[in-house]
Assembly symmetry: C2
Homo-oligomer: 424 residues x 2
């Protein structure tokens, strides 16, 4: 619990504990009702009793933000993002006030802060704003006096003097940005999961919880759809060297530390096997093999906010045409097909196929950089089980394959064993 | 509908309508769900279509504020009023954002304002703050451009840079203060009642809706517990000469105008018969008849925040002692008796009696000032029905009597007839 990452000036706490400045972020289920808010307050009190200076960052009560978003949709189909932000930021206002009260009730000095009060300054991209600056002098002063600071996550103040929100999962981003701004020793992300696992424990019974994982690995996993942390917050933590800890708010297990590669002494080659079912495959057959054709295909999709992930282009052998296969989010499939249909005269493909019954399986690990044969082991393990690979894509620390969705569980268990990750 | 009270500079609207600057306040039931919010937006659109410049002031959705208050109570018995304000002000934030969206959806330009944004500056009496100043230049500029301004009621910004709330019914106060600050021609209070009646129509079938009522009468009625308008907002309207209109948000009846006495040509002597069941009577027998004894009784009650209303002191005939009878709010009765019991050695009364089965009946009317015999007619009308009067108190425009609660309905109907208020 007391692992230190920075040589920041610290003093010994009441029990010889090294005093640390900690950001503790609690998600919506952790503050889902008054009982849970009180439980979180007790947990924060234990941290202050141990001598730590604590800054709490909160989400809205579980379900509240969804309700507020639904109300904005019922009210107006195309909404003014500035008014949307006013509505959806109300949930965090409620939880921070209640948390300050719950802490005070336990005899812990506390006060709440809203985005505009700090201020937490953002750009004016309402609904998905970026943080420019957080004024922290007053927070640091008060923390030094033993007062717990309770910050509304997800919200900020735009340069237009209006409320902004940071997009889905924005409370993680608030927590990490605050940790960087106040020079926190650690940023604890409390939620209903108790850490990062080698694979989904609901599917892979032998999955193990990881003690540590690198930012890079966590980033790949977040972008694969693992709901533990938002991509943006991991990026920010990596950029600013903020040690993150993913920890359960419902038990006292130590969780998983997300740290720089240098912090992990014995790095496994592969740390986890991830998957994403949110995939759909599109193939364009016999696309004219000329310069600019890829831009003709992917430009209009990008303009329509369709995110294209895996891309394979392969010659079909006749010299002047090529097949193009790529994946999009399943929810974007119909829209993508419609756009591509309109583009048929321009792109001049002969046929278009699509398949939504696919899954992306990825092996992730920074150890890959220094070890050859990682991808080969994946391909042969899947081949042994008769699983056909449809598309392959790789990054420096990840190999992903697209396979038929029905093989998801078999593939995950097979690879978990093949890379030596099984719990004994 | 277009009655004008000030000779403010105005221009003719699209249909020759005299353009007016109007504050329209909608209560919690009027914005109780998305359907009602849309209905209010349509009503506001009709006002702007007629050429009026409109500033909307909103409460939270019905039930929201009570829920938020309940959460603060569940969290902490003795709460920090600053954090209480953070929590309970969230409801208005939701409705103003949704209303701006609903108006935009109808093609009406609109934007929301929170208390800290205007700012609406208050003192730091959290939970019951007083408004110091409202910055309105930007509101007036935008209204002049045809944009509807949507203001969160009930909330402000304290000198401590924290959220304040204005106490129960504070949204009425926000509306009236805004009307005064921007020089509005009228402040419409929309709610689920369609005006001010000569008496409670649930009890007095022949009660009539009043077209006009004076501030002074409205004030007496508000202090008698009539829930139409908060006392503070009527006081503020009277002080600044803001014409109020009490009007239903569910139909198009004209409602009741609350105006200066000079605006009412033919003033009835008595305009309404009001009642309050929130009364309890305490009698102290044989109190020493010496200077300062009243202070000994009422000082400690005031310190305990017990509001004493009607007071009667009568000699019991033995020359050195007096009986003292007074009323307190029913919810304060037990506390008051306990305080008075502790004071027995000091005050030296012989016995203490109390009675919570009492009701205060009041006849209200500015015409009383110039007409004798108003009180006498009340006493004889009640006597004819065999109703015993326990305590009497009077103000310049009101006569109140305390009677046994079981006579409430009989007394109201009798007086309504006696003062010629019955609907034909």
């Amino acid at each position: 619990m007391n692992t230190r990452f920075f040589a920041a000036p610290s003093t010994a706490g009441p029990s010889g504990h090294i005093m640390a400045r900690i950001i503790a972020k609690f998600g919506g289920t952790s503050v889902g009702d008054i009982g849970r808010i009180k439980a979180v307050a007790a947990r924060v009190k234990a941290m202050t009793d141990a001598g730590d200076e604590v800054c709490v960052v909160l989400s809205a009560m579980a379900g509240t933000t969804d309700q507020l978003i639904d109300w904005t949709r019922q009210t107006a189909a195309m909404h003014d993002a500035r008014e949307y932000d006013v509505v959806v930021s109300a949930g965090e206002q409620i939880t921070v006030g209640l948390m300050a009260l719950a802490l005070q009730e336990l005899g812990v000095e506390a006060r709440s802060w809203l985005g505009w009060q700090l201020p937490l300054s953002t750009d004016v991209t309402h609904g998905n704003a970026r943080i420019n600056r957080i004024e922290t002098a007053e927070l640091i002063r008060r923390m030094g006096e033993g007062q717990v600071q309770v910050i509304a996550g997800f919200q900020g103040l735009g340069a237009d003097n209006r409320v902004t929100t940071l997009g889905r999962g924005g409370t993680d981003t608030t927590a990490v940005a605050l940790a960087a701004s106040i020079g926190a020793e650690r940023c604890d992300i409390f939620s209903d999961v108790d850490g990062v696992y080698t694979s989904d424990p609901r599917i892979v019974a032998k999955a193990r919880k990881l003690d540590k994982i690198t930012y890079e690995e966590m980033l790949e996993m977040a972008s694969l759809g693992a709901k533990v942390l938002q991509t943006r917050s991991v990026e920010a933590a990596m950029k600013h060297g903020v040690p993150l800890r993913v920890v359960s708010s419902f038990n006292n297990t130590p969780g998983t530390l997300v740290v720089d590669e240098s912090e992990i002494v014995e790095q496994e080659i592969v740390s986890s096997i991830a998957y994403s079912r949110d995939e759909a495959k599109i193939t364009l057959q016999h696309v004219a093999d000329r310069p600019g054709v890829a831009a003709d295909v992917f430009g209009p999709l990008a303009e329509a906010d369709v995110n294209v992930d895996m891309i394979v282009q392969s010659s079909s052998g006749n010299g002047d045409a090529t097949d193009m296969t790529f994946t999009v989010a399943r929810s974007d499939l119909d829209r993508s097909l419609s756009i591509l249909k309109d583009l048929k005269p321009k792109i001049a493909y002969t046929k278009m196929f699509s398949d939504a019954d696919v899954v992306k399986i990825s092996v992730v690990g920074v150890g890959m950089r220094s070890h050859a044969g990682v991808a080969g082991r994946m391909f042969s393990a899947l081949a042994e089980k008769g699983i056909n690979i449809q598309v392959i894509s790789t990054s420096e620390i990840k190999v992903s394959v697209l396979i038929a969705e029905e093989y998801t569980e078999l593939a995950l268990r097979t690879l978990h064993t093949a890379y030596g990750l099984d719990d004994d």
